[in-house]
Assembly symmetry: C2
Homo-oligomer: 460 residues x 2
């Protein structure tokens, strides 16, 4: 547990206190709603990559990290009758040879604040005597009625972040900001896209953090989820980078910037960039307690619709265009999502976390991809990430275009051939009075972005 | 399949030819030994990291890569009656939106040289009509008699690499060499170990390659499999880095260097380093067709034993020390392993690939960790990686020391307190007349290593 050691005694104490409060809050909910049924939360094991001994880097289950704090392979946390017991691997002689000295039960108890630490080889004996044991992660795809109560309790807790969580998300955000600056600084025509990605991820690895998700770094920004990094920067491409760090305790950040590979936006690129930025700023301004997230999505869409009409790609009244979802031709995805221990926080529960009870996904193209529709509360963290994309699969789709025949002006597309895809994304914390942009240190005005790219030519 | 495109037409043709030869050779073995039973080889899917949509980077099964060449998520290759059919995902409208245009069946057929390309939604219908279908990866932990015949056929083919495989391993080796140079160049006292790892992996990512395995980068070289990168370089530590790239077609390299964080080996560090290097060079010199790999292990051990006796850590006759395995107190692991598509090639088959029929692992401490005991043949690739480690769990173990009481001189340990762990590892190809070190471009003489570290102070 070198990471606990690195944080110093006060860091350990703060983590242990936060974990103790979270476990206490969950125990209270379970006692009230589930007659105090025991709960076992497992950290999991790293999956094999190509053979059993060659695994991917271990990532503990987010529920385990939320309640036990540290990424301990194979460990499990038992909560029962207000008591918390952490079960950890018992170190063998072979472990000492191959993996060195491991943290003592005493040090783990101090670091996590649990009531007791025991060994995993004792777990089966303990759980055999417990009736009605609930488990996380769930063992089947369909949650029982009791499990649904458990999920709702966890969602209730994890929706609004405590101070320790926010401080972790700030750490992740700070490293993400550095990664984007590093990416811009190495960008110039002729540079391979993989080199830009490498410069960005280097910042994350240098901090001993990981990627919160597979990086998207591409000159084909219109391919929304591309992980192809085989291209090379042309003289006047846009480079879209959606890269986020995850702290060593598992908390995520999620940031997108789009910058010109040659250091200067073309007029068409600048027009679309400024439109996306205006849309993002309007959406961020709407983030405050009580605001419905779907309305924030629509705030962004309204700005985009008006702008797309102004440049002639759409035609007609803004209200009607918005109602028919015409913006989705260029902005097909949602404005963002919950952010926390998962980059799409608690998406392992499907829409149960993202959608408030009684709300469900729209059937409309575009809105159907919105991952979050709750009324915001202080402590929630969300992304705000509008974009404009020229996606051939959309702009040539008879099915999608049919209801928008009068709205869309394909003859204007040629003017924006050098745009392809633009997205601007920041991480936003809902505060008591409004919001705070956790990734505000990373500039996004066109001139700021151009300056960060141009700085490459003077760097060594 | 941007990567195929990048390779140009001749690169595609070479890959397709190699794959066709491999499939033909396997079909011949299956026809002879398994009455031409059909075989389905699946590429697999990337596992979830923290929720289903957030996966680890995809890595296709090595058997699939060996026979179908390209990492295609979810794809499967059917071999039957001398015909090869590749089954791939049928692109949907949603795929075009999120993932862009995918390679056409025609381009995949050209790239892989298969007889036909079909869609995965047709696979079940096809396999339903086939009796006795064999599958890879195996569906159960215990192989049936027929499956054992299949495994042995694959081992027979994959043990000795063809030209295309060797060219891929050269590509991986070249990037690995760059990674180690980059790591040395950023090393200096006060630098975080994670920064060194990041500089190394940046080189791998910049090439659009991946790590063949989780990097070991540490100042605690005696912790053999540590993945803790939380330390900081002291003024006179040794930094051990075991980092290897994997090419975009999945072929591995595996290299270790150990260098002084301050740019100069201390006398004790230099003495141990030179001993490990002498041991490695002696072992490499013994690599040739017909040589038994265990004997090469023992060549290295003999050099180590003699050197450890010369500095007083061991006492007695070399032959007796070697027989009793006294070297394992300081060199507990094996001299290396097979290298190919897996960094421990075909270790998904346990010792079936590494140990020739009739041979099995020794019970002796040290030798029991040897992963390979075959007679070498041209085309095999192996690592040669001796080391010296001062592992507390070994040097304080009553059980391990008991049979070596008269051999071991613990009073000399204090002289080597600044050594901890040293390993030197290269990738070696067995040729028709001897061997070729694939990673020879990376210097390893003490003065060469010191120069690469010292270059950091003059770099910008």
């Amino acid at each position: 547990m070198a990471m606990a050691h690195e944080r110093g005694e006060s860091g350990i104490g703060q983590l242990a206190s936060a974990l103790t409060r979270r476990r206490g809050a969950l125990a209270g909910l379970l006692a009230n709603r589930l007659s105090d049924r025991p709960l076992l939360v497992s950290a999991g094991q790293p999956p094999a990559r190509n053979y059993p001994d060659n695994t991917y880097e271990f990532r503990a289950s987010s529920h385990f990290l939320y309640l036990a704090g540290l990424p301990m392979e194979g460990a499990a946390l038992l909560l029962h009758r207000g008591q918390s017991t952490l079960f950890v691997h018992r170190s063998t002689e072979a472990d000492a040879l191959w993996h060195g000295e491991t943290a003592s039960p005493e040090s783990l108890q101090v670091a996590t604040g649990v009531d007791a630490v025991r060994y995993l080889d004792e777990l089966e004996g303990v759980t055999a005597g417990l009736s009605g044991l609930l488990r996380l992660p769930l063992r089947s795809a369909v949650a029982s009625a009791e499990e649904q109560v458990l999920l709702d309790a966890l969602i209730e807790l994890r929706l609004c972040h405590d101070d320790h969580a926010v401080s972790e998300m700030r750490r992740a955000a700070a490293v993400t900001v550095r990664a984007h600056r590093a990416g811009m600084a190495v960008t110039r025509p002729g540079v391979r896209v993989s080199v830009i990605r490498a410069a960005m991820e280097r910042e994350i690895l240098a901090e001993n953090f990981t990627n919160a998700y597979g990086s998207i770094v591409t000159t084909c920004g219109e391919v929304l989820h591309t992980h192809d990094r085989s291209g090379t920067c042309g003289p006047s491409d846009l480079l879209l980078a959606d890269v986020g760090a995850e702290s060593d305790l598992g908390w995520a950040s999620d940031v997108t910037r789009t910058w010109p590979t040659g250091g200067r936006f073309s007029p068409s690129q600048r027009a679309m960039y400024e439109l996306v930025l205006a849309s993002q700023l309007a959406a961020i301004a709407a983030v405050k307690p009580g605001a419905r997230y779907r309305d924030i999505h629509l705030v962004a869409c309204r700005v985009l619709v008006a702008g797309l009409r102004d440049v002639g790609l759409l035609a007609g009244e803004v209200d009607g265009l918005l109602e028919r979802g015409a913006h989705a031709l260029f902005f097909p995805h949602g404005i963002g999502h919950l952010l926390g221990l998962d980059v799409h926080d608690m998406e392992d529960f499907g829409d149960r976390a993202g959608y408030a009870p009684g709300r469900q996904r729209s059937q409309q193209f575009g809105l159907c991809y919105l991952r979050l529709d709750r009324d915001l509360q202080p402590g929630m963290a969300v992304t705000i990430e509008p974009g404009i994309y020229f996606v051939p699969a959309i702009l040539r789709s008879e099915r999608l275009l049919a209801p928008l025949r009068g709205d869309f002006r394909p003859d204007k597309l040629g003017q924006f051939a050098d745009v392809r895809g633009i997205r601007i994304e920041d991480d936003v914390l809902v505060t008591a009075t409004g919001h705070e942009v956790l990734t505000a240190q990373l500039g996004k005005r066109p001139d700021e972005v151009e300056a960060m790219v141009s700085s490459a030519s003077s760097a060594c």
